[in-house]
C-alpha cells in the first residue's frame, strides 16, 4: 500500500521523498544536489508527506 502511495506521487515530490527517506540526506544536501533553495526543499517535502498521509488515510476509509 505504501509502495503504491509513493509511486503515485509526482516525480519532483517522489524524488524528494526518496532522497530524504531512503538516502538519508539532509535538507541542505538535497538543495545542493538539486540546485534549489532550502525552503523549496522543505515545502516540497511537506507537500509530499501531506499527499502520502491523505492517500494512506483515504484507503482505509474507502475500505471501511
Amino acid at each position: 500500500m505504501i509502495r503504491q502511495a509513493v509511486s503515485s506521487l509526482p516525480d519532483d515530490l517522489r524524488q524528494i521523498i526518496v532522497m530524504k527517506e531512503f538516502e538519508d540526506m539532509t535538507f541542505q544536501e538535497i538543495s545542493d544536489t538539486l540546485g534549489m533553495p532550502l525552503s523549496t526543499v522543505k515545502s516540497r517535502l511537506y507537500t509530499a508527506l501531506k499527499q502520502l498521509r491523505s492517500k494512506l488515510e483515504s484507503k482505509p476509509l474507502e475500505i471501511v
Binding site: R3, L49, K50, L52, L61
Partner: protein, 268 residues
C-alpha cells in the same frame, strides 16, 4: 477519527513541522516550536499526520529493504596515501635526484667538456708554435753569428797559410824547387784543381831556367804575395758579406789567380 482536512493549514510554523519531524532544527527553535504546539492545535494535528506518513515509510523501508545485502564499493584508500607520500619531498629523494643524471644533461656536459678540451689544445698549440718560432729565430741568429766568426777564422787561417806558404817558398832551395816542379808538372795533369793550387804555389818558380831562377823567384814571390794579399782581402770581404763555412772556394779562387799568373809567367 482522522481528520482529512489538513490542506487549509496557514500557520507560520508549517515549514518547521518538517524540520522538527526529521530533527534538523536548533535547540531554541525546537523549544519554541514545542511551546507553539501546545497552543496551536492545527500544527499539532499536522505534525501527527506528517509523522504518521514518515513512520509508515520508515516501516516500509525496514520491511522491504533491510534484508537486502549492503553493496559495498571497494575503495582503495592506499592510493591516496601513496599519492601523498609521493608528493612529500624528503631529503633522500632530493639526494637521489641529485645523483640521477638524465641522458640529455649528460650529453650536454660531455659536449661542453669536448669543446673545452679542444679550445685548450688550440690555445696551447698557438703559444707553443710562438715559442718554437722564437727559438728558431734565436738559433738562426746564433748560427749566423757562428758562421761570421767561422768566416773570420777562415780568413785568418788563409792569411796564416799564405804567410806560411810564402815563407816555405822563400826558404826552398833551387834543387828542391826543381824536384817540386817535376812533381807538380805530373800532378798538374792528374791532380784535381784544389790539389794543383798547393803544388802550383810551390812550383811557381820553374827550375828549367836555372840562371834566372832567383830573379824569377823573387818576382814571382812578390807577385804571389800581392796576389795572395788581394785574394785574402777579397775573400775576407766576401766572407764578411756572405758567411761561408769552409775556405774551399777561397782556395779555388786562389788557384785560378795563381794559374793565370803562372801562365803569364810562362809566356814571358
Amino acid at each position: 477519527m482522522l481528520n482529512n482536512n489538513h490542506n487549509n493549514s496557514s500557520c507560520a510554523f508549517a515549514e518547521q513541522i518538517v524540520s522538527y519531524i526529521y530533527d534538523e532544527v536548533d535547540l531554541s527553535e525546537k523549544t519554541e516550536f514545542e511551546l507553539h504546539l501546545k497552543e496551536c492545535l492545527k500544527c499539532a494535528d499536522e505534525l501527527a499526520g506528517l509523522n504518521f506518513a514518515h513512520s509508515s515509510i520508515v516501516e516500509w523501508r525496514k520491511a522491504e529493504f533491510s534484508n537486502l545485502p549492503n553493496f559495498v564499493i571497494p575503495f582503495e584508500e592506499t592510493t591516496n596515501e601513496k599519492i601523498v607520500l609521493s608528493n612529500q619531498v624528503s631529503w633522500l629523494n632530493n639526494l637521489r635526484q641529485l645523483f640521477t643524471f638524465p641522458l640529455a644533461k649528460a650529453a650536454v656536459g660531455f659536449a661542453f667538456l669536448i669543446i673545452c678540451v679542444g679550445a685548450f689544445l688550440t690555445v696551447f698549440n698557438f703559444f707553443g708554435n710562438n715559442d718554437e718560432v722564437a727559438k728558431n729565430k734565436t738559433v738562426n741568429v746564433a748560427v749566423s753569428e757562428s758562421q761570421n766568426s767561422e768566416s773570420k777564422q777562415v780568413t785568418e787561417n788563409t792569411q796564416t797559410v799564405a804567410e806560411k806558404q810564402d815563407s816555405s817558398s822563400i826558404s826552398t832551395t833551387p834543387n828542391e824547387i826543381e824536384t817540386r816542379a817535376s812533381k807538380t808538372t805530373n800532378l798538374h795533369q792528374i791532380a784535381p784543381r784544389n790539389l794543383v793550387v798547393k803544388t802550383e804555389n810551390k812550383s811557381r818558380a820553374v827550375p828549367n831556367y836555372e840562371t834566372i831562377a832567383k830573379d824569377v823567384n823573387k818576382s814571382a814571390l812578390n807577385n804571389k804575395n800581392k796576389a795572395n794579399s788581394e785574394i785574402v782581402k777579397n775573400s775576407a770581404v766576401k766572407n764578411s758579406q756572405v758567411p761561408k763555412l769552409t775556405n774551399f772556394e777561397d782556395e779555388e779562387d786562389k788557384s785560378l789567380r795563381l794559374a793565370d799568373l803562372l801562365a803569364e809567367f810562362d809566356d814571358n
